[in-house]
């Protein structure tokens, strides 16, 4: 009886590691040859992703470790269009591997040259992403995140003026820090479900306009003390505490809005959940009141 039990135990333990995951390391880069602009499409469906400014002499670089049974790396530069496709696309069985958390982990570090005007389009699947976009020369930004947990940072001011930043999330937890440093004329955010923090802190060098739509979830707006803020709110079943904003007609605005040199106009539409207001200075110190 003991022998049978031991045999069963051995079988169970022995079959535990029957399926092995083979990870492959992939690197790609391109030297900078006088390019002044780059259209970059980054598709990344699963794993960990970091984006950051890279070396001045490299147009872009990606170092990835990927599951070769389910994905294949993409790195395709179109010299005529000045565009590059980077990332991991599904191959074979595709999708997620659900054996263990450790085995699931794909990782990629992506870097772009801070010296070229960058039109960046990022598509994320089930990704744990840390995107440091401060210090780049972003001319436009589009981020689409599915079931991701993402932090987007503008730790340094954008080196060029940005036309627009468009961020769309599905069921994601998203934090965007230092939108004031993004130098984007227009910021559009559309969220499905989840927890979202939009930090408008940073150095505001010009006025900006933000349109925010949030379906279900908790939205935290971290507003800049130095800029005049006007918030137009359309909500259905969402709680809202205007902490520090005063009502002016159909909108809420910060006390010094009319006199402010730089203004931030926010149109906010939310259905279910809550909207929380916080205030931040240029150093990122957060408070409940302006």
């Amino acid at each position: 009886m003991r022998g049978v039990a031991l045999a069963i135990l051995a079988l169970v333990l022995g079959t535990g590691n029957a399926v092995a995951q083979s990870m492959r390391a992939f690197s790609t880069f391109r030297q900078l040859h006088g390019e002044t602009r780059l259209q970059a499409d980054l598709h990344y469906l699963a794993g960990g992703l970091r984006v950051a400014p890279g070396r001045a002499n490299e147009l872009y670089r990606m170092d990835a470790s990927y599951d070769e049974e389910r994905y294949r790396p993409t790195s395709d530069f179109n010299a005529a269009a000045g565009a590059v496709d980077l990332g991991l696309e599904p191959a074979g069985n595709g999708g997620l591997r659900v054996l263990s958390r450790r085995q699931l982990r794909q990782d990629a570090n992506v870097a772009f040259s801070p010296a070229v005007d960058l039109d960046l389009d990022i598509t994320l699947g089930a990704v744990d992403a840390d995107l440091e976009l401060g210090g780049l020369s972003l001319s436009a930004l589009t981020i689409q995140a599915g079931a991701s947990q993402a932090v987007v940072r503008f730790s340094q001011p954008n080196r060029s003026r940005c036309r627009s930043a468009t961020i769309t999330t599905g069921a994601a937890e998203l934090t965007v820090l230092g939108l004031g440093n993004s130098r984007c004329d227009r910021i559009d955010f559309e969220g499905g479900m989840g927890k979202v923090t939009l930090d408008f802190g940073g150095t505001w060098s010009s006025s900006s306009r933000a349109e925010i739509k949030m379906a279900v979830g908790e939205l935290t707006l971290r507003l800049p003390r130095r800029a005049g803020v006007r918030l137009t709110l359309d909500r259905f079943l969402a709680s809202f505490d205007p902490a520090g904003l005063v009502r002016s007609g159909h909108a809420f605005q910060s006390p010094g809005y009319d006199r402010a040199e730089r203004k931030l106009d926010i149109d906010l539409t939310t259905a279910v959940g809550g909207v929380r207001i916080e205030w931040a200075d240029e150093r990122g110190v957060v408070d409940a009141l302006p």
Partner: protein, 440 residues
């Protein structure tokens, strides 16, 4: 001697003192210079790329020391492939995995020799150097060796199991791909894209590429362990159900026994309607607006109810099977130790497990194994469907309509049967308040 020993000790002590002083001075130097060095590096890069670079350089150094050309074939040209063999086009390196697959086929030795044709280019085996005064036209393939470029290469460069080193002053006009190696840019100019797959499967043995199929004994062992695991889990769940919900389990079990056909049809309909009902529930909650808040709760509860109904129903079927079998044995006069629900469950699950155990043992046999597997699946599905239906019919064991319990308990006593007319008008006044309701 003692004097010299003392001076020696003094000397060693002084030496230690000097060593300690040097160590402290060194540490102080490190502490004072390291922050400056850290500050000098742009703080906006959180990727630790400096550390990555450091590690990469370290491994480059290790690789350059380890990877001697003694392990590699001597530098030689690879002869062109025979007539009719497709050439390997290296003009497009945008899909490195595809290039690797093509090279795996092309570089497989034919008649003991490696032969490959690179259209308009060069194919080399072993390390290869493009000298500083050289200008090579066309694509270059280097197999099992490094490619050192000092001069000009007007084309793409691919290495298999080797590194690419682009030295200062060198020029590669096209793309570079290293399969099973890396690209070291020492200051040369690379006109195209650089790609590197650190490991390569081009020369990997076929057995290593395709995972070996497990033997029949291993398959049998795995399946046996799986079946035993599943049924042990079911037994544990069943014991819990008996312990905490015996009345409900017995009602569902009786419903299966007494209304098997009806339970099966209900279970079948239930299986078909599970998804549409879930969809209607979600849509209804969304349309009701206020119900949106209940969505996560409703999804969780619905899922839980379906699982409980399916699992509980299956266990009830096992209970019914075990009960029927045990009672028949008792009716034959056999003495059964403890004829209770625990025993019924074990017997029933054991009976259900028999088919799966048979499949575990003989599933590897061609045709017969498949037939046994299909039979086991069908029987399990049939019984699970009936169990699911019985759970629905009896509302998880709350209603006894189809459990064959129409006769009230008082009616089973001898006194009642003796005193109460069973037919005619007086029969309508029988005692018992558990008259079941009609219909579903």
């Amino acid at each position: 001697m003692s004097g010299s020993g003392a001076s020696g000790r003094r000397g060693s002590g002084a030496g230690r003192h000097i060593a300690m002083s040097s160590l402290i001075a060194g540490l102080l130097f490190l502490f004072t210079t390291a922050p400056a060095g850290a500050d000098a590096y742009p703080r906006s890069i959180p990727t630790g790329s400096a550390a990555v670079e450091l590690v990469r350089n370290f491994w480059d150094l290790v690789a350059s020391q380890q990877g001697t050309d003694a392990d590699r074939p001597a530098s030689q040209a690879i002869p062109p492939a025979a007539e009719g063999t497709p050439p390997v086009d290296l003009s497009d390196l945008s899909d490195p995995v595809d290039v690797e697959n093509r090279l795996t086929t092309a570089l497989a030795p034919k008649d003991g020799a490696m032969r490959v044709t690179v259209p308009g280019g060069t194919a080399r085996r072993g390390s290869f150097i493009v000298g500083s005064a050289e200008a090579l036209e066309g694509d270059l393939l280097v197999v099992q060796g490094d490619a050192d470029v000092y001069g000009r290469l007007n084309g793409n460069l691919v290495t298999v199991e080797g590194d690419v080193i682009v030295h200062p002053g060198a020029l590669v006009s096209g793309d570079i791909l290293a399969l099973g190696g890396e690209v070291r840019d020492m200051g040369g100019e690379i006109g195209g894209e650089v790609r590197a797959l650190r490991s390569s499967t081009v020369f990997a043995p076929a057995a290593a590429v395709a995972p070996a199929e497990a033997g029949a004994l291993t398959v049998v062992g795995r399946r046996l362990a799986g079946v035993l695991g599943v049924f042990l889990t079911l037994a544990a769940l069943g014991f819990g159900l008996v312990m905490f919900g015996r009345p409900n389990l017995e009602v569902v079990s009786d419903t299966v026994s007494h209304s098997f056909g009806r339970a099966f049809v209900t279970g079948l309909l239930g299986q078909i309607l599970v998804i549409p009902t879930f969809g209607m529930l979600i849509v209804g909650l969304i349309l009701s607006v206020a119900g949106i808040l209940l969505l996560p709760f409703a999804v969780a509860v619905y899922g839980l109810l379906v699982v409980v109904a399916a699992l509980g129903g299956f266990l009830a079927v096992a209970h019914a099977m075990g009960e029927t079998y045990t009672r028949r044995r008792m009716a034959m006069g056999l003495v059964i130790g403890s004829p209770n629900s625990y025993r019924y469950l074990v017997v029933g699950l054991g009976a259900l497990a028999v088919l799966w155990l048979a499949w575990s043992m003989f599933g590897w046999v061609p045709v017969a194994g498949t037939l046994i597997g299909v039979a086991a699946f069908l029987v399990t599905w049939l019984l699970a469907t009936a169990g699911f239906g019985a759970a629905l019919l009896s509302r998880a064991g709350i209603r006894e309509n189809f459990a064959g319990r129409l006769i009230p308990p008082e009616a089973l006593t001898d006194e009642y049967l003796w005193a109460t007319p069973q037919f005619g008008v007086p029969a309508g006044r029988r005692p018992g308040g558990r008259t079941p309701t009609r219909g579903l």
